[in-house]
């Protein structure tokens, strides 16, 4: 085979790939469908991903992407007009709202599920079945040096304490530190921090002395490697579950989950339909991915807000 033949062969291989790529040149999705970009909380992420999957099955020409930059990171992009929807596991902060206002980004807040922020330990951890808020605070407060389980409560074994938790961009981080340490953002810094809750699951699941906190759905999905710790918020030990989160007895770690939608995006039929789909199927999606659904009252409020937003956008 001469070099000439070789060249021809290679060209023959590459040209079809070109054709493939040219097919990929088909524009940015503005052919009849629409594209929706979603980013934000890694707690809410799986919920919106499941919703996006279900929605795209029925509406194949809509392109939805879901990122998990963290609640804080999500708001940054949202207020910089980079995303249509921002997932959040805590309400938007004042500073963030101010940035949005600066950039003329108006939004609507929807509560789309509840969450029981769960404290998890390794499956082989059979001693820590219930922790009080004070004990959690002693472990997680800034400057804490607790590094062994026997320092947490007397009677606990001598097992090294390995901490895993969300990073600072996470709404879960903000919420937990506010409830447990009294101030959002106040936390010891020497733990394995990750915006990705899956890393926390991997970490705690792999370490006998592991302890971490994350959204309920991540615990539910991995209850074969993790144990949930019941939390004593002053009225006795309450284990996290759908019921205790909905009826409010799991305190102080039950919290609402939100999505924020740009008002200007509401004018797009794709977005409008998608949010409508999310609210219609809220309970089903929540159950599928292990979230705590809204109760009847909360769902009615959300649907009302939706109607208002749709009318506003059309009017």
């Amino acid at each position: 085979m001469s070099a000439r033949t070789l060249t021809r062969a290679l060209v023959g291989l590459v040209l079809p790939l070109f054709a493939l790529a040219a097919a990929g040149c088909g524009g940015g999705g503005s052919d009849g469908g629409g594209s929706i970009s979603v980013d934000g909380s890694s707690t809410v992420g799986p919920y919106m991903t499941a919703a996006a999957e279900g929605f795209q099955k029925e509406n194949a020409d809509v392109r939805i992407t879901v990122g998990v930059s963290g609640t804080g990171g999500g708001f940054e992009r949202f207020c910089r007009v980079e995303t249509d929807i921002s997932n959040a596991s805590r309400p938007i902060k004042e500073e963030e709202a101010a940035i949005c206002a600066e950039n003329d980004v108006e939004y609507v807040e929807f509560r789309i599920a509840n969450d029981a922020l769960t404290v998890v330990v390794n499956q082989e951890n059979d001693w820590a079945t219930c922790l009080t808020v004070d004990e959690l605070n002693a472990i997680w407060k800034p400057g804490s040096t607790v590094d062994n389980w026997d320092q947490v409560k007397s009677g606990y074994p001598d097992v090294g304490l390995k901490l895993f938790g969300p990073g600072t961009d996470s709404g879960t981080f903000d919420y937990f530190t506010e409830e447990i340490n009294g101030e959002a953002g106040a936390s010891r810094t020497d733990y394995a921090a990750s915006e990705d809750d899956n890393v926390i699951v991997q970490g705690v699941g792999g370490e006998k002395g592991g302890l971490g906190y994350l959204g309920f759905s991540y615990y539910e999905a991995n209850d074969d490697t993790l144990n949930a710790v019941a939390v004593d918020g002053g009225d006795g030990c309450v284990a996290p579950s759908v019921e205790t989160a909905q009826n409010g007895t799991y305190t102080p770690l039950s919290r609402p989950l939100f999505v924020y939608v740009k008002k200007s995006s509401f004018a797009e039929p794709a977005v409008e339909d998608f949010i409508g789909y999310v609210l219609e199927n809220e309970i089903a999606i929540a159950e599928k991915v292990g979230f705590v659904p809204l109760n009847a009252e909360q769902l009615a409020t959300a649907k009302n807000d939706y109607q208002t937003a749709v009318e506003e956008a059309q009017g």
């Binding site: 980013d39 992009r77 990073g167 953002g185 810094t189 394995a192 970490g203 792999g206």
Partner: protein, 312 residues
């Protein structure tokens, strides 16, 4: 060019083989090719600017001394702490274990290929080494997390789920081809005459390899080690997947740490929130990484040049 009035007609130019027609096409082509070359210059400029500008802004707010000597790395927390020593120690720790594997096995493989293996065996074994070099690092990371860590645990080592040892050992395997191929090149460049002379004096292969070839190829071999260090320092995926993201100051290989690259990879993905000091830490760490690998590369290039000179 106008000839000034009154000047003499110039003497006949000396004979030249150059064509008397101007070849504009040639000039165009030369310019185009020069432009191609410019791309790499622009790339370097781009890297330097994209790192330097935010990094300098960062160092205006955080003193470089604190950065280089501080022992607590918590840039995203409030109050933030920017001591990069834990990251540097983490990088060093993983690199150490990687080289502990790569150097002996890489050098051993090189000696075997260069001094013992028949050309037929070489033709089979060298491509196999290249395969090792071609495996994407994300695959190595997966392997470290799912196969090596459990193996270490089953051997009785109390490793954390994310630990330095698994990542370092796998990184070492990844670097074996680098060290092996560069060392083998260096050894192959040693003139056959040296070998023949030694054999002629009655030396056996062991003596020839260790006392003649390796010392003769030493600068090339050291260059391969230095290149190995550089690549270990710059490796991201193995560390991200298997070594962890906790900036701890420890040399214990059973624990998880964070490295320079892991910090950038974990923090920088998705979005970089602009403007804040936390955002700029990515560039400060990136700059540190770039400088370290740059210095290593320059040393390595100098060493390679040195061994090439000796025999050319």
């Amino acid at each position: 060019m106008a000839t000034p009035a009154g000047s003499a007609v110039p003497a006949v130019a000396p004979l030249s083989l150059r064509s008397s027609r101007k070849h504009y096409g040639e000039k165009v082509i030369q310019a185009l090719l020069g432009l191609c070359a410019l791309v790499s210059i622009v790339t370097t400029l781009g890297i330097v600017i994209s790192l330097l500008v935010p990094a300098l802004e960062f160092f205006a707010e955080v003193s470089p001394v604190d950065f280089l000597t501080g022992t607590t790395w918590a840039p995203l927390f409030d109050p933030a702490s920017f001591g990069a020593i834990p990251l540097l120690v983490g990088t060093l720790s993983v690199t150490f274990w990687a080289l502990l594997v790569a150097i002996p096995f890489g050098l051993g493989s090189a000696i075997y290929l260069s001094e013992y293996a028949s050309p037929r065996r070489q033709a089979v074994l060298k491509p196999m080494l290249e395969i090792l070099a071609g495996i994407p690092t994300v695959v190595y990371g997966y392997f470290a997390l799912t196969a090596v860590t459990p193996l270490l645990r089953s051997m009785g080592l109390q490793v954390e789920i994310f630990n330095v040892l698994a990542g370092g050992l796998v990184m070492g395997v990844m670097l074996i081809p680098t060290i092996a191929s560069l060392s083998e090149d260096a050894m192959a460049a040693v003139p056959q005459g040296l070998r023949d002379g030694a054999y002629g004096l009655g030396a056996d292969k062991l003596q020839v390899s260790t006392r003649v070839i390796v010392p003769a190829a030493m600068s090339g071999i050291i260059a391969s080690f230095v290149l190995g260090v550089s690549r270990a320092v710059g490796e991201t995926m193995i560390v991200l997947i298997a070594v962890g993201q906790q900036a701890k100051l420890t040399f214990n290989p059973l624990e998880g740490v964070s490295t320079l690259t892991a910090f950038i990879g974990a923090t920088g993905n998705g979005d970089l929130p602009t403007g804040s000091t936390e955002y700029k830490t990515i560039f400060a760490v990136g700059l540190t990484l770039f400088v370290i690998t740059l210095v290593m590369n320059i040393i390595s290039i100098r060493l390679v040049r040195k061994y090439r000179e000796v025999y050319d």
